[in-house]
Symmetry: C2
Subunit: 181 residues, 2 copies
């Protein structure tokens, strides 16, 4: 708390005007992170019904959102153990809601015969881990731009789910975040 306060240029005690406890501060960060993710997806969710377009939108939104919030994401992923049982449940519930969206896309794609998927649940987890993992090694301004990373991850995703058309995979740079809220 002292460190945090110093970074804001204030005394530790001042933080307690805004958050009753350290855990409240953490929880607020995490809740807002998840709310933001769900809102971003609702805004980016395409009207399209074909699974390829929906999956592409999901991947692009997920990667853009997390890269732009690398530090918040890192905290959200690392400090789950510091939450009370009740609050942990709340956060996990939001996560499940978000993951369900992906599973729905994968299921639809599989049922329509456009995707080739062994296990929808497993594939969803694998994809999310893969995509979120970007924040571990990505540093802005290094070898690859966000657009390049996103394009590569999109093409990997499409192959992973066995999408028939490669059109979505080829270098199709993401249009400059115009969509996200």
């Amino acid at each position: 708390m002292r460190q945090l306060a110093a970074e804001v240029g204030v005394q530790a005690a001042a933080l307690y005007r805004y958050f009753p406890t350290k855990e409240d501060l953490l929880f607020t960060l995490m809740r807002e992170h998840m709310e933001g993710l769900l809102e971003a997806w609702n805004a980016a969710r395409p009207a399209a019904v074909d699974p390829e377009a929906r999956l592409a939108a999901y991947v692009e939104n997920h990667i853009a959102f997390h890269i732009e919030r690398r530090h918040a994401t890192h905290v959200s992923n690392m400090e789950l153990r510091s939450l009370s049982h009740e609050r942990l449940t709340q956060i996990l519930k939001m996560r499940t809601t978000y993951e369900k969206e992906l599973r729905a896309i994968l299921r639809d794609g599989a049922e329509e015969g456009r995707f080739e998927i062994d296990d929808v649940g497993l594939t969803a987890m694998a994809l999310i881990q893969m995509m979120t993992g970007v924040i571990v090694w990505f540093r802005p301004g290094e070898r690859l731009s966000i657009a390049e990373v996103t394009a590569t991850y999109l093409s990997m995703t499409m192959r992973l789910v066995g999408a028939k058309i490669g059109a979505y995979g080829a270098a199709r740079p993401r249009e400059k975040d115009a969509v996200a809220l």
Copy 2:
């Protein structure tokens, strides 16, 4: 340290006969984890030269190793920040060594035209994040066995790298750990 000691049935002070500091204890855990991983891969590394077989061996070894050591892996991934700069560098060097093995496989496969890969470095990171991510949600004795999970991940991997033959992906349950040292 007190908690740790209690779990071993000993007083906290007794631990200091074996490790001079808490960080030494952590570092030893991490170092042995990485050494074990490299040894396991060296033992499992196939004589084969075809990229598909090598990649399959890499995936199977990686998943088996990490699932069997879920807790050590979790600590190793979460507590990197608690290491001194020097020791962090040491661990990261071992990681790089291990990842290079995967990149070599991917590069060879791409050069031989058997894999379809946009970016070898990115693909290696994506695969490792995806595979290691298993420990986040996998609980032994639940819906899927280790063999089933491994088989599914293998098939996802093969598709992700654009391997031409699907033979490696289909349900090919891993033979009961006979190989690992």
